[in-house]
Symmetry: C2
């Protein structure tokens, strides 16, 4: 009988060519699959909850795989971690329901984008934040962020590249918070288009710079025209921060 | 006329073979000197406030150098940073007094050692903390730490390797603080022997493990016998965190 194991993990994406397995480049999925197959014997594919890009990080990531191995689920994290490089860590593993799928069962996800708003570099945040020197207009950014909340066509804030049936998504929250020099933007949605968070953040920076007016955001979304939005900010500041599922996996991911 | 410039900088030491310039290995001093000499033209030596080991970090580090360059001091940080790799950052520069010397003028220094007390690895703290899985007895560690405070011969908690006239130092504070899974040990002294903080931390871990009794610490120090103390813990958890000087440089370093 085949088991369906769900994992919770985190990773520093700096060294990786993203999540998705690729023939030549080192990816998180490729690295994880190799470690799991040594522990469980028969695993050739791991399904991830999303295709994070090169340089993007995950504070909480969910993946699942099928195996006939009899290893108790609670032993999997330590066993796999000893085979993984230190920038990937599996923290939990459970036997999930037969039909659980890390990407298809996902209810919603939250991404966090970290900006260090300072002229000074911080050697400890290199590759882990976006350094932005000019003063930020948090008020304007927050008001603009509010316009992204709700069910909209987000074609104006995505990069073409991944096929998708529809560019309509529901954003549950989009908020901008300052803590000293650190400005954090959190976006939660039922699903994300390619580069959607990075284009939203680039648009909020354009609002701060006065290049886009706050009240023009609804029209920008309606236009579906990527050229009217702000730039795609670098991947280094982006973290998959939360992910929601029903049932046992949901509990594991929210602990 | 020769100017004496004092710099404040920080660095992630993971990639470096320590501060001190070496013929073959990449060091912080070597990397910094190369950048400064391109900005100021005539700099061949930079004096640092201490010889941090390979893998040790600095949140606040002070260095000084002589130059005939007429560049305004306030322009030096940005000019040098554009030539430095992102894991070293110069934040301040001032014209110091003629007799200022980053190591000889130092009044006292504080090192911080960061332990992550968890069975779980954190991909974002790799190379930046020491992962220690067993439960820690913070009470015993704190009481033991108290015995290091004061003027003592610290020969029992140093590695032989650097010549020094005396192994007597004055420790101003030595404290252990827990914040969730993060346990921080701060040691402030008028000067440090080679590996002194790492041997003190190793000794505190031995106290937590019951291998050394709290009340045996004074005898351990009196013995001067390195074999009676705990092990030298890894460099990854060690940060030069504060440094004190009199006058203008002192103000720059405490901002």
């Amino acid at each position: 009988m085949s088991r369906n194991i769900a994992l919770r993990l985190s990773y520093d994406g700096s060294r990786y060519h993203g999540w998705q397995e690729q023939p030549r480049d080192v990816t998180v999925a490729g690295t994880l699959t190799a470690a799991i197959s040594r522990v469980c014997g028969d695993v050739t594919h791991v399904t991830g909850c999303g295709r994070t890009d090169a340089g993007v990080h995950a504070l909480r990531y969910c993946a699942n795989f099928r195996t006939a191995s009899t290893i108790p689920a609670e032993r999997i994290p330590l066993a796999v971690n000893t085979l993984l490089p230190p920038d990937i860590a599996v923290s939990h593993a459970i036997d999930a329901q037969e039909d659980f799928n890390a990407i298809l069962s996902c209810v919603k996800k939250e991404y966090t984008y970290k900006i260090v708003n300072s002229r000074l570099r911080d050697p400890f945040l290199h590759n882990r934040a976006y350094f932005y020197a000019r003063p930020l207009d948090l008020g304007a950014m927050s008001r603009a962020a509010g316009f992204f909340v709700g069910t909209h066509d987000f074609a104006a804030v995505r990069s073409v590249g991944t096929e998708t049936k529809t560019t309509v998504r529901t954003v549950h929250w989009c908020e901008v918070v300052r803590d000293g020099a650190e400005v954090t933007i959190r976006v939660c949605a039922d699903g994300f288009l390619y580069n959607m968070v990075r284009a939203i953040v680039g648009t909020l920076l354009y609002v701060s710079e006065g290049k886009i007016a706050v009240e023009d955001i609804p029209r920008l979304l309606e236009s579906g025209d990527r050229r009217l939005a702000g730039p795609t900010v670098p991947p280094s500041g982006l973290y998959l921060s939360r992910i929601w599922y029903d049932g046992d996996v949901g509990e594991m991911m929210s602990e």
